[in-house]
C-alpha cells in the first residue's frame, strides 16, 4: 500500500456502509490473488471465476465478519477463497469428476519416493517466508498437509489415500500446523 492509499481495513469499513466504490477497490487490489488462490485449488478457469465472484459478493454481504484483531484482510479474503474452492472441488469429487493438473499432480506419491508430493504447488507460493516454513516440515507432514489444504481431503480420506492409521494422519496435520504457526509467528505475531 502506498502512502496515502486507503487501507484494506478502511475499505472493509466503507463496504459495511454500502460503499460500492470500496468493494471495487478491494477487487482491484486483491482480485488477482483471490482468483489465483481459487485456480490453484480447482484448476479450472470457469470454476475459479465463479469462486472469485462468490468471494467478493460474500465480502459485500458479510463484511462485518472481518475481525481486524484476528488477522489481515488479505489473509481473510484468501481463506474464504480457498474454502469456497474446496467446496467446489468436493462437489466435483462427489460426482466422480477428477480435477486436472496441476492440483492433483503427484500429490499422493509416497514420501521419499522421488519428487516431493505437491512440491510444485508449494514452490509456486509467492511468499518466501511461507515457502520456507512449508519446506521445513518433515515430508510426511507436508504430504498430509498438501492433501488437506489443496484437495480438502478429510483426515479419514487422507488416511485411506496414504494407507496410514487415522491417528497418525491427525497427528501429522496437527504437528504441521503447529510448526507453521510457530515459524510464521516468529516475526508476524500470529
Amino acid at each position: 500500500m502506498s502512502r496515502g492509499e486507503t487501507s484494506d481495513e478502511e475499505l472493509i469499513l466503507r463496504i459495511s456502509g454500502g460503499d460500492r466504490e470500496a468493494i471495487r477497490l478491494l477487487y482491484e487490489r486483491h482480485g488477482r490473488l483471490v482468483y489465483g488462490c481459487a485456480l490453484q485449488v480447482v484448476s479450472d478457469a470457469a470454476a475459479a471465476e465463479e469462486v472469485c465472484q462468490d468471494v467478493f459478493l460474500r465480502v459485500w454481504e458479510r463484511s462485518g465478519t472481518y475481525q481486524a484483531d484476528k488477522g489481515k484482510v488479505v489473509t481473510w479474503l484468501a481463506r474464504i477463497a480457498r474454502n469456497r474452492a474446496i467446496d467446489v472441488l468436493r462437489s466435483r469429487r462427489s460426482r466422480g469428476i477428477v480435477a486436472e493438473a496441476p492440483a492433483d499432480e503427484s500429490i499422493t506419491a509416497a514420501p521419499g519416493s522421488g519428487a516431493d508430493p505437491g512440491e510444485k504447488l508449494w514452490q509456486s507460493l509467492r511468499d518466501e517466508r511461507v515457502r520456507e516454513a512449508v519446506a521445513s516440515l518433515p515430508p510426511e507432514q507436508r504430504q498430509a498437509l498438501t492433501l488437506a489444504f489443496f484437495q480438502g481431503l478429510t483426515h479419514r480420506q487422507i488416511a485411506e489415500t496414504l494407507g496410514e492409521p487415522l491417528g497418525t494422519v491427525k497427528t501429522r496435520i496437527r504437528d504441521a500446523m503447529l510448526k507453521l504457526r510457530a515459524r510464521l509467528g516468529e516475526r508476524e505475531g500470529i
Partner: protein, 242 residues
C-alpha cells in the same frame, strides 16, 4: 479431572475444514463456550490464511469486475453475520433419526402433495424415516448464516423427475419477496420454482424438471423478488447436496 479442552487437537483440522462429520458438532459446541479454544482456532485460521494468501496472483478474466459490480448493485451490503466458515463439508445432520427433516416436515409435505398423492407417497415417507428407500434420492438442506434456523429436505423420484421440497425455520419475507429454489449443475443454476413460507416458517414446493435430477449436484434457496429471478440475486438461505 476431565480435560477442559477435549477438542484442542482437532482445531488445526477444523481450521482447514477437514474434520469428519461426526467430529464437527462436538468442536462447535465446545467453541461456543471456550474462549481459549476460540483464540487457539483464530491462530490456526491465520496460518491457513497465510498459506492461501501466498498463492500466485493470476490475471483476472475479462468482464468479471463488471459482473460483480452489477450483482453488488442489486444487493444490500451486510455487516453482521458469522465469520468465514471452513468448507461446508456435508450439511450437518441433526442427531437422532438419520432423516429427521422428513418426519419433522411431513405435514408440509402432505400439504404440498395433497391427500390423494399422500397415499401414494406414504410408502415413501414411512420407510424414509427408517432408512433410505432404494429408488428415491434425498438432499438435506442446511440453513446458511442468513437463516441459521432453516432446515429442509428435497425428496426426488428419478423415475419421473418429480420431487418435493419441504423446509422449516424460514424467516418471514416482505410482500414483494419469495424464496426461490435453485438446482445447480457445473455452476449453472436452474430455477426449481418459488414459494412463500407460512406464518410458522414452513415452506414447500412440488418439483418437476425435464432432466434427470441426479444430474444436479447441489441445491440452494435464495430470497428473490416475488415471482422469481432468472438467476440468483438475493442472499442464499439454504444449501445442500444430493
Amino acid at each position: 479431572m476431565s480435560d477442559p479442552h477435549p477438542f484442542r487437537d482437532l482445531l488445526p483440522g477444523y481450521s482447514l475444514g477437514i474434520l469428519d462429520e461426526d467430529e464437527i458438532d462436538g468442536v462447535r459446541e465446545h467453541l461456543a463456550v471456550c474462549a481459549a479454544c476460540r483464540a487457539e482456532l483464530a491462530s490456526f485460521h491465520e496460518v491457513a490464511g497465510r498459506l492461501a494468501a501466498a498463492a500466485p496472483e493470476r490475471d483476472l478474466p475479462a468482464g468479471l469486475e463488471a459482473r460483480i459490480m452489477r450483482l453488488v448493485r442489486d444487493r444490500p451490503a451486510g455487516k453482521d453475520t458469522i465469520g468465514p466458515r471452513g468448507p461446508a463439508l456435508l450439511p450437518a445432520r441433526k442427531r437422532g433419526s438419520p432423516w429427521p427433516a422428513l418426519t419433522g416436515i411431513a405435514a408440509a409435505v402432505a400439504l404440498v402433495l395433497g391427500a390423494g398423492n399422500l397415499l401414494q407417497w406414504s410408502g415413501v415417507l414411512g420407510p424414509a424415516a427408517r432408512g433410505m428407500p432404494p429408488r428415491l434420492s434425498t438432499a438435506v438442506l442446511a440453513g446458511t448464516d442468513s437463516a441459521p434456523e432453516a432446515y429442509g429436505t428435497i425428496v426426488l423420484d428419478p423415475k419421473d423427475n418429480k420431487g418435493v421440497l419441504a423446509v422449516t425455520g424460514l424467516p418471514a419475507l416482505a410482500q414483494d419477496r419469495q424464496y426461490q429454489l435453485w438446482l445447480i449443475r457445473d455452476g449453472q443454476r436452474r430455477s426449481g420454482g418459488v414459494f412463500s413460507p407460512d406464518a410458522d416458517g414452513y415452506g414447500s414446493l412440488l418439483l418437476t424438471v425435464p432432466v434427470d435430477f441426479r444430474d444436479f449436484q447441489s441445491f440452494g434457496v435464495s430470497i428473490e423478488p416475488r415471482g422469481g429471478s432468472p438467476s440468483p440475486t438475493g442472499p442464499r438461505v439454504l444449501a445442500g447436496r444430493l
